[in-house]
Amino acid sequence: MESRNKKTVFLYLAPAIIISVIFLYLPIIINLFESFYSWGALSPKKSFVGLDNYVRMFKDKVFLVAVKNNLLFVIGSVTCQIGISLIIASVLEAKFMRKTQRFFQTVYFIPSLLMATVVGITFKMIYSPSLGIVNPMLKSLGVDTSHIDLLGNASSATLSIVGMSQWQYIGYTVILFLVAIQNISEDLYEAASIDGASPLKKFLYITLPQLKDTILINTIITVTGSIREYDEVFVTTNGGPGSSTETLATYLYKAGFKNDQMGYASAIAFFIFIITFLIGLLQMRSYHMEDNN
């Protein structure tokens, strides 16, 4: 009976295992092998080049620009979607905001429901010097706008997209933090009040420690999201002007499907995989730490 049970268990597990091997693990391994070759979908031959693609990657200026841009996304997203949204959430949860909390909650949350394409095209217009509203607003403040073209100048394009991304997703983490804050027992705050703790101290010594898990998970979500950043860049500048707003994902796509350098694209893909994998490991480790405590 025992062995029969085992067989049945295996049978039930088999589809999931087979599907994840075929569609998840096998492609990762194939991708690693492909990255050792120089080849294209339409190129005449496929030749083994060893680690050349990886060497080339770290010498490639565009790749380094992409890494830098991803880091900008990480810094911007963690600052805004963790730091600022935590502050917004605790302000919304403050006693004097309770009545209007729902209203602000909705206002902050709506942008994150929009599609990246919609937000991208809208911001392309908002940022446009000829059609948009940013330049006229700056002008009315007395700024010389003749050289300001937010998405058209290499120096300002990446930060403009990072800003747009924060506008869209800040509300999402605000909601997550709000829910977590509401789960903190009122007793703790009451006890602190009796001891005469200031609101700031309550935030630092009760809210923050109690939110450790949520902060950790949100950080991991935002960081991996920033590393995979693709759609917002694709819609607004598609990596331009020049290659100043290229991210790892957009550059990977262009290397593979525009330049037909599939081997090189595979190498970039593997690099992204390694980074996200390490972050994943970090996540699992921190869960274990929780258990041990």
Binding site: L131, P241, G242
Partner: protein, 443 residues
């Protein structure tokens, strides 16, 4: 026990479902050589055949025409069914690369003529259609030769042109009249026109490069004007291209000068083509570089008020003065197509004069047949533009489809930076690097 059987069945069903997506269609009987085509046709006489078609016109106004044409064809050939998939212009290049690497090509697929098509020919993804054309001289001789030549390599024709396009400067007649301007024929006159418009506070040329392909039209045209055809064909061939000739840098410089003199308007890197052609149509600028395939847009927007002139010639330039950037869009038949006869029958139906004229009348897409653009199909300016086109002996393919994809990309990315601050020599250095990289793969 019953439960176990049920579980087994479910597991089996799931596995089959999950695996079926990975299967590749058998392609063992795809090599129907031309000498036994007669048998194939007979055998296929009453058999139901489905032909897949990858097309480039999902937009409203175009898709209706293609659906109607397919319905007409199916009515006349009840044993053939055409299954069309439409993909937008921007997505097409990616889609074709993905399909080519996946190996499951549609029976008939869209391509641009010239180097772009050549890639498929080299990879043996397109069948030689010469024998079909020879079998029907009426069909073969009906095409404007320049366009059919664009799909012919080593005397073998690999694709059938159905849409033609030639690059011109489009201008706003009213703006020109208001400023007392005449259409220029030489580059110096052209610069004078630009200068006058700029002085009068009108943007001389509408231009926007946020999608970065628009520079390829300009520089491709300047290349064909400044560089002699022999050098061009060596450099445009991915196996031998080096782009070290100093005239390429000169071509880029001519273009960058237009920008630095302010003739292309402001903030070019954050505007796209669709935005600037609206600006032109609103009378905010004097000129725009565009192809005949888009003329119906200007005729709708400006009516009689738009005109065209040949791109001004540069004095002392060594390129082919009778060359113009343009090209055709073509249909190729995949080498994995199991029913090439039926596929060709459909192509013939689509590109015979009667249907070609219908295409232009109904969808506005200019056809590629002799005498196919008339007052009945198009507005007067477009008709005149096609008469002018007969003076051109040589079509220079769009730069972005004429050269290898990564060279084209190096060109377009660097030119976008050039509109900001990068110099012509730095731009050509990027292009040369990309060309060397590509040529290495052919050795």
């Amino acid at each position: 026990m019953k439960k176990k059987v049920l579980a087994l069945l479910l597991v089996g069903a799931m596995m089959i479902g999950s695996l079926s997506g990975c299967g590749k269609e058998s392609t063992s009987d795809n090599s129907a050589s031309s000498d036994n085509t007669a048998d194939v046709t007979e055998a296929a006489g009453d058999e139901q055949v489905t032909i897949t078609l990858l097309n480039k016109y999902p937009e409203e106004g175009y898709v209706e025409y293609f659906e109607g044409a397919i319905a007409d064809f199916e009515k006349a050939n009840p044993n053939i069914k055409i299954k069309m998939e439409n993909v937008s212009d921007a997505a097409m290049k990616d889609k074709l690369s993905v399909l080519a690497s996946g190996g499951d090509m549609p029976d008939i697929y869209f391509s641009w003529s010239g180097e772009y098509l050549k890639k498929f020919v080299r990879a043996e993804k397109a069948i030689d259609l010469t024998s079909y054309l020879q079998a029907d001289p009426d069909w073969a001789n009906g095409f404007l030769p320049a366009f059919l030549n664009e799909s012919t390599f080593d005397d073998k024709t690999y694709a059938i042109p159905y849409r033609s396009s030639v690059l011109y400067m489009v201008y706003n007649k009213k703006v020109f009249a208001d400023n007392g301007l005449e259409t220029p024929t030489t580059w110096d006159e052209f610069l004078t026109v630009c200068d006058t418009l700029k002085t009068n506070g009108i943007t001389p040329i509408s231009f926007g490069d946020s999608e970065n392909w628009y520079t390829a039209w300009w520089v491709g045209q300047l290349n064909s004007m400044l560089v002699d055809p022999e050098t061009l064909s060596v450099d445009y061939n991915p196996a031998t291209g080096s782009f070290t000739d100093p005239r390429y840098e000169k071509a880029v410089q001519y273009f960058l000068d237009l920008n630095s003199n302010g003739y292309l308007g402001e903030n070019v890197n954050s505007k796209d083509y669709y935005q600037v052609r609206e600006e032109f149509s609103a009378g905010l600028s004097g000129m725009i570089l565009d192809a005949t395939s888009q003329f119906s847009f200007y005729s709708d927007a400006l009516g009689e008020d738009y005109g065209y002139f040949k791109i001004p010639t540069i004095e002392g330039a060594e390129g082919n003065a009778a060359a113009v950037t343009g090209g055709s869009e073509v249909y190729a038949v995949s080498s994995s197509c199991k029913h090439p006869d039926e596929a060709v029958a459909f192509l013939k139906f689509m590109t015979m004069k009667e249907q070609a004229i219908k295409q232009t009348t109904e969808s506005g897409l200019p056809n590629a047949v002799i005498g196919g653009i008339t007052e009945a199909t198009s507005d007067a300016t477009t008709v005149a533009a096609y008469v002018t086109a007969e003076e051109y002996t040589n079509i220079a393919s769009w730069l972005d489809t004429a050269v290898d994809a990564s060279v084209a990309n190096a060109y377009m990315v660097s030119l976008q930076e050039g509109l900001d601050s990068k110099s012509a020599s730095e731009i050509m250095a990027d292009v040369q690097k990309a060309a060397a990289e590509v040529a290495k793969n052919y050795k």
